[in-house]
């Protein structure tokens, strides 16, 4: 069964139709590349799944149940996690503190509860180990490489039982070597049965790691096919409009 299913989703801002009648379904453990030019409606679509916007029309279902989100926190409760393009990390805090930001572990009773450093370090360390990342829980984020920072942002999504992880341009601003590192992180998520939606401009990344590619143009879904049955040339044509629809 699809972990997430969108049916005839539309979203308009005034007269502008940002997303127009898009239907798609995402299976567990699947990496879906979401591609499209600037303004194609990728971000709007993702923001609806993340609970930032509500769809003007259409419905979303998660594990067969209707999904209605009023704010991002609710999306998180349903197991939808986002890795923001800028990663949303605090440089002055440790890796573990960033992983747990906003949902810190505490111990104690009633109002007398203090931060549980030991547990947070331990669990963050386990997550980095699962991701095969060399990131250390006590290191400050400001001293980290782009790949390590990605690992911190991705480890954050694994804290709760995430079912689907939305990644916004995770490889946009990092070095070639680190791109490989990030793609590995995505594979680790997939291997744990987590669905990953990878929003990217970089054709090679999508073709390396994704199982499926969805292309959007001017708010509409113009292609949705397996990677094996597509090619970078075809996707480029779909993005630019040289190929109308497949």
């Amino acid at each position: 069964m699809a972990v997430l299913e969108l049916t005839n989703i539309s979203r308009h801002f005034g007269a502008i139709q940002a997303v127009n009648d898009v239907s798609l379904s995402i299976e567990p453990g699947q990496v879906v590349g979401l591609m499209g030019d600037n303004g194609a409606g990728k971000s709007t679509l993702v923001k609806m799944i993340a609970g930032n916007f509500r769809p003007s029309h259409g419905t979303m279902h998660m594990d067969g149940k209707e999904l209605i989100l009023h704010k991002p926190a609710e999306a998180r409760q349903h197991g939808i996690e986002i890795v923001h393009q800028d990663l949303a990390l605090c440089n002055n805090l440790t890796a573990a503190a960033n992983v747990y930001l906003g949902r810190e572990l505490r111990r104690g009773v009633g109002p007398f509860r203090i931060l549980d450093y030991a547990s947070m370090y331990k669990r963050a360390g386990q997550l980095f180990a699962e991701l095969k990342s060399e990131t250390r829980p006590r290191d400050l984020v400001k001293q980290m490489s782009g790949g390590q920072r990605q690992a911190v942002a991705i480890a954050r999504t694994m804290l709760s039982q995430a079912k689907i992880v939305l990644m916004d341009e995770p490889t946009a601003a990092i070095s070639v070597r680190q791109v490989a590192e990030v793609l590995n992180l995505i594979r680790h998520l997939r291997d744990q049965g987590i669905a990953v939606v990878l929003i990217s401009h970089r054709m090679p990344d999508v073709f390396t790691v994704a199982d499926r590619v969805i292309v959007m143009r001017r708010g509409r879904k113009v292609a949705d096919k397996t990677i094996a049955s597509s090619s970078p040339e075809e996707v480029t044509g779909l993005i630019t409009g040289a190929i109308e629809q497949v």
Partner: protein, 332 residues
Amino acid sequence: MALTIDQPIEHKQQSLAARLFASQTFWVVIAVILACVFLSFATDAFATSKNLYNITRNITFVAIIALGMTFVIITGGIDLSVGSVLCLSSMILAVTMHAGYSIEVGILASIATALAIGAFNGVLIAYLGFPPFVVTLGMLSIARSLAMVASNNTVVFQFGPDHAKLLSLGGGAWVFGIANPVLYMILLALITGFILRWTKFGRHIFAIGGNEHAATLTGVPVRQIKVAVYMISALSAGIAGIIQTGWLGAVTTNLGTGMELQVIAATVIGGANLAGGVGTAFGAIVGAALIEVIRNSLGLLGINAFWQGVFIGGAILLAVLFDRIRNFRRSD
């Protein structure tokens, strides 16, 4: 070699010594100690119990507010109104008690005033997006003016039925001959340190200073926390005002004039970063101590008091210089 999971977890960022040497607070402590040693030999008056009593007590008023200011500065904000809030809180206390109310009522009214002002600052900054500098600059003017209105710009030195209690609260030395204000300062510093290190609230304050946008995205209640830090800052000014009233035994409307600058100086010298994300309770105390030792030593060494500003300003620049040098080294 395969790493076991415990190795990276147990790995500390730097050794204790390296961390110590990299900390601005550590060097300020060294500066304070060196200055004290030097002054003990250079002057007869420094190492007397009376002078040390004076110094420790003088540190407290700036230090207590610096503790509150630390919260604000860690979030990347600034509170210029603390001097005026100190004056207004003192005046509310004085006027209430002068009117015949008990010390409890007076303190309650004074604290409530401070918290209300802090909440007002915080709401304008957090919810309406006013720059902290502007809001608190406005409040600097407003609070002092309100103090003048409350007292009709007179000096209040009679505090009604609980007069003696108030003077003993601020001027007494209940434990081991340590001045009461020093005890309050130590208590408040411990509370501040605990909050910053061990509570979720403290963690979120650092997160806001490090990357406010990230804090918002990860579900940190940024606005509520910002209101809270300005209330804490005003509260610390209120508390300092109450203690100072008890110590001085009189309140004038120019109490705490220019104090905001001393407080900010103490915080920055102690290692807090005005850009946000860095600061400690201990640093605030040490910063206040350095300022007071400089002030005191100039007097004892017979240097004209007009030079005070130069030395304190120099200490601020020196403290920030150390920070810059460390950053240069790191970027190499």
